[in-house]
Amino acid sequence: MTARIGVITFPGTLDDRDTQRAVRVAGAEAVPLWHRDKDLKQVDAVVLPGGFSYGDYLRAGAISRFSPVMETVIEQAKAGMPVLGICNGFQVLTETHLLPGAMLRNNHLHFICRDQKLRVENAETSWTVDYTSGQEISIPLKNIDGRYVADDRTFDMLEAEGRVAFRYLDGNPNGSLRDIAGITNEAGNVVGLMPHPEHAVEPLIGTGRTDGLGFFTSILKKLVNA
């Protein structure tokens, strides 16, 4: 039996079907989860995909964190269930305080869509074990509220504990402090990042690279070995 990975759909979620596909390409079973439903259908891990949940008219991710499904996700994440937040999903995770910091509008004030080079700084989280520390990967980036900020104490803590999971290379696309593209919680089960690994899992599609597949094979490896 393979791992069951839940993919949440909030109103305004856009990359849910892409994420389900990435889960399938990696060889796991994708389980659609609905924002109004507290039941996680006994999944082994959860992905919060990208999009503009509730239109993001208030603040990205600010309303989703109060949805019924998130109540269970927060509870389970604290108990160790692996959770990955991509883009809007990362924003939701910071709003829930499962991850520290916050996201502001890009420093150039525009939406930006491009192929982005990253360095994997922590290859020991539930979602990165299939990478090597220091590995450089390129995956699509697309957002308007992607500037990661936190106070210095938080940054120092993140750096000291090795919790910066990904850093932007070859040009910071949005003004994120310390070039941070993604972080992990202390336990390594909750990871959030702005770029989109689910858009880089098949040759020919998107950028034509498969550098993002490692996120999904990582979790599979982690869950099957667990």
Partner: protein
């Protein structure tokens, strides 16, 4: 104010009515009175005024548009033709594709962000209403001079609006164009296209049938925005002294539209609708009258049940409002509960506002009192038809006589080099990445090709790798010189672009952007362009499936260049065989396909170097275009080429620069002694690099495939000239000049951010 009921209208035949303010002409008002046998009520007048507007009724253009039907080529792929929300074609494996291009020009000048945003929203709902999941959007854009201060207001707003709305819908933006020309200064062209995919059995039509079936309005509440958008805004020339027209522009809510899309697709999946129509231009007036007109019976609507954002709206305003993100469905009574439940799931407001009736009248009530009683066809489909006078403008001969061949050409290799740099750095030829990087091109995870490729391509079946491609093109400069030929060149270019990507061109949608139809010269341009396009579609076997006409694109007496924008949809059996434009592999041979003649009229060179527009546009040879397309498709399918790029504005040098920059590799070029069958450009580096002869492409051929490829071209009779090799880090034209890629890159990519950012 007393309610102007049907009864009241009958009793007060001589009451003054604001028909002129609503954009109606005197004879049109007289005709409405004749149809009804009395004066119209205020609500009826509102409906007729918006539905008989140029934008909705095509009253000036339809006598010419008829040709698209009359000359439609035999095409087994056509499933739904002109007249529905969008045309539908069969792409095989049980899939049907619907696509269309529309304009949102006038609103986008007044209020760039909202104008462009709601343009995306409108076309997406058109596609959705056919029963399809929208899978991609494209945006052909035209602005005034890139260095004009107002362009800095309009362009960033338009781009942010397209991105802000489209990105929030989760639709990849895969193509389109950006063109700058002073003629669009007061009249930018903001066209928007969308592609949708469904199975054949899922096609839905806009008609209300079945007595007793319910009329359900769902989506956003109706507000006071966009009142009279089609009549006041889109159907009149801008007058710089008039009052600001901002209240006629709609305001969009992409989040609401995203919910509407998902909700509607779920409703389709459960087969809950008998007919469906989106609310766009002319709002409820359009949806109710078109649904009733296309159906078998009549319709009764309780207008006071429409959910409102502003409780003070009058019935006339509710009928005319163009509030976005609304749809209207016809639903059998026993399916209404399930329909409403799905809407509730998606937090979409849905209200039964009426039902299909036995009679043949569209009847609308306001708190029990009848305010509309009309034959729906007279509103929706039997609007006025104008045979507007048209005449070839007096200046046309002089324009064509002003031959671009007489312009001074570069005297030596240094000047040739300088002109190449000037060309690739010009806003029209420069990279548009600053713009397209503000659009999400990856979402949905099916994007195979996106701008700056020759066409956008998406996979539509993950198991079989079936895909569709779309390219949009239009060249106002060519069309100004010769509208008949210019429209054909637009089609030829889009057709060639689709084929260059490896897809087979299948069908056409068009957005015809012109000046005022009240000007006989403009009307002649329109007549010639539609005739040219219809003739060429017939020859190429690609029917026009639908589209849009945008007239009155002029400020005062000055019209834009006539600008037919043509979208060609193609199909590719296996997206793995797609051909990109990038020259990425050193050692591959560069072949120029087609004939290069001395053709500089309307060229980018004449514009960039001499600010000149005159002479004749390049010749069109549709048989050659067909042959070139067949070769490009065969070569892609059989793995004979690794890259292909069509030649259009800017000629060979522009295409070469784009392919080299995209692949990050240079090229060494040798000026051939012959360039196809015609030898007028043979041995002439200037003409070879800058001429814009149509029916050409460059391809990169691996050495191992050279013989097979040239044999195929030889056997089929397509001139293929070996002009160089992919190599190094510069573009080197032997005996002339060389330019490092880094220098080209800086110029090509720096222009737009330098002007706009």
């Amino acid at each position: 104010m007393t309610l102007d009921t049907v009864k009241h209208a009958t009793e007060t035949p001589d009451a003054d009515q604001p028909w002129a303010e609503l954009g109606l002409k005197q004879d049109e008002y007289a005709r409405i009175r004749e149809i009804l046998g009395r004066r119209p009520t205020g609500a009826e007048l509102a409906m007729y005024s918006v539905m008989w507007s140029e934008h909705c009724s095509y009253k000036s253009s339809k006598v010419h548009l008829k040709q698209f039907g009359e000359k439609a080529p035999e095409n087994d792929a056509m499933l739904v033709g002109i007249g529905e929300n969008a045309g539908v074609v069969d792409v095989g494996q049980g899939y049907a594709v619907t696509f269309k291009v529309e304009s949102h020009n006038h609103p986008s000048y007044i209020e760039p962000y909202q104008g462009a945003a709601t343009g995306v929203g409108g076309i997406v709902r058109d596609i959705l209403a056919m029963g399809a999941r929208p899978v991609a959007v494209v945006d052909p854009l035209r602005f005034g001079a890139a260095d004009h201060p107002d362009t800095k207001r309009v362009l960033p707003g338009v781009v942010a609006g397209i991105g802000g709305y489209g990105n929030c819908l989760g639709l990849p933006n895969i193509g389109g164009e950006v063109v700058f020309d002073a003629c669009y200064q007061g009249n930018p062209l903001v066209n928007a296209g969308c592609i949708g995919v469904m199975k054949h059995e899922d096609i839905h039509l806009a008609k209300a049938s079945g007595t007793g079936n319910k009329v359900i309005l769902y989506g956003a509440r109706t507000g006071g925005d966009g009142i009279g958008g089609v009549s006041v805004l889109a159907s009149e020339t801008f007058d710089s002294t008039g009052p600001a027209k901002r209240p006629a522009v709609q305001v969009g809510d992409p989040f609401q539209e995203k919910l509407l899309i998902e909700c509607t697709l779920e409703i389709f999946k459960e087969k809950l609708v008998a007919g469906i129509q989106d609310l766009g231009g002319a709002g409820l007036s359009c949806a109710t009258s078109e649904l009733a007109s296309a159906g078998s019976g009549g319709m009764r609507v309780e207008l006071d049940s429409v959910p409102l954002r502003d409780a003070t709206l009058s019935p006339e305003e509710i009928l005319m409002s163009e509030s976005q993100e609304r749809m209207c469905a016809i639903v059998e009574p026993d399916k209404v509960d399930r329909f409403l439940a799905i809407c509730e799931k998606w937090d979409v407001i849905a209200t039964v506002i009426g039902e299909v009736t036995e009679g043949e009248r569209l009847e609308i009530f306001w708190h029990g009192e009848q305010i509309v009683d009309v034959p729906p066809r007279s509103v929706a489909h039997e609007g006025p038809t104008y045979h507007r006078p048209y005449a070839r403008p007096e200046w046309q001969d002089a324009l064509q006589a002003d031959d671009a061949s007489k312009l001074p050409r570069p005297a030596d290799a240094d000047e040739l080099r300088a002109q190449v740099l000037k060309l690739v750095a010009h806003p029209n030829q420069a990279s548009k990445a600053w713009i397209t990087d503000q659009y999400d091109r990856f979402v949905q995870g099916n994007t195979v090709l996106a701008q700056p490729e020759d066409s956008g391509m998406v996979r539509i079946d993950e198991d079989t790798n079936l895909g569709v491609a779309m390219a949009t093109d239009g060249n106002g400069r060519y069309t100004k010189l010769d509208p008949y030929t210019g429209a054909q060149l637009a089609l030829a270019e889009a057709y060639r672009n689709v084929a260059a990507s490896g897809a087979k061109p299948l069908a056409v949608s068009d957005c015809l952007n012109f000046g005022s139809p009240e000007d006989p010269g403009v009307m002649w341009q329109f007549a010639e362009a539609t005739r040219g396009l219809a003739d060429a579609c017939q020859t190429l076997g690609t029917p026009v499936t639908g589209g849009n006409v945008s007239l009155y694109n002029q400020t005062g007496e000055v019209a834009i260049h006539p600008t037919p924008v043509v979208a060609v949809l193609g199909v590719i059996d296996d997206v793995n065989r797609r051909t990109p434009i990038a020259f990425a592999d050193e050692g591959h041979l560069i072949y120029l396909l087609g004939d290069t003649r001395e053709e500089l009229g309307g060229s980018a060179w004449s514009q960039v170097v001499h600010e000149h527009l005159g002479g004749l546009p390049p010749k069109v040879d549709l048989a050659r275009e067909e042959l070139l397309a067949e070769i490009l498709i065969s070569a892609s399918r059989d793995g004979m080429i690794d890259a292909a790029h069509d030649l259009s504005d800017g000629g060979l040098i522009q295409a070469l620069v784009e392919s080299c920059l995209r692949g990050g590799k240079g090229a060494r070029l040798v000026i051939p002694e012959t360039a196809g069958d015609s030898d007028s450009a043979a041995g002439d580096p200037f003409l070879l690099l800058f001429s814009e002869s149509a029916g050409r492409a460059i391809v990169a051929v691996p050495r191992s495939e050279e013989l097979r490829f040239t044999d195929m071209c030889g056997a089929r009779g397509l001139p293929a000239t070996r002009i160089g090799v992919v190599d190094g880090e510069e573009i080197d034209v032997q005996g002339q000049f060389s330019i490092p890629l880094s220098e080209l890159k800086e110029l090509h990519e720096g222009t737009i951010p330098g002007l706009i950012a």
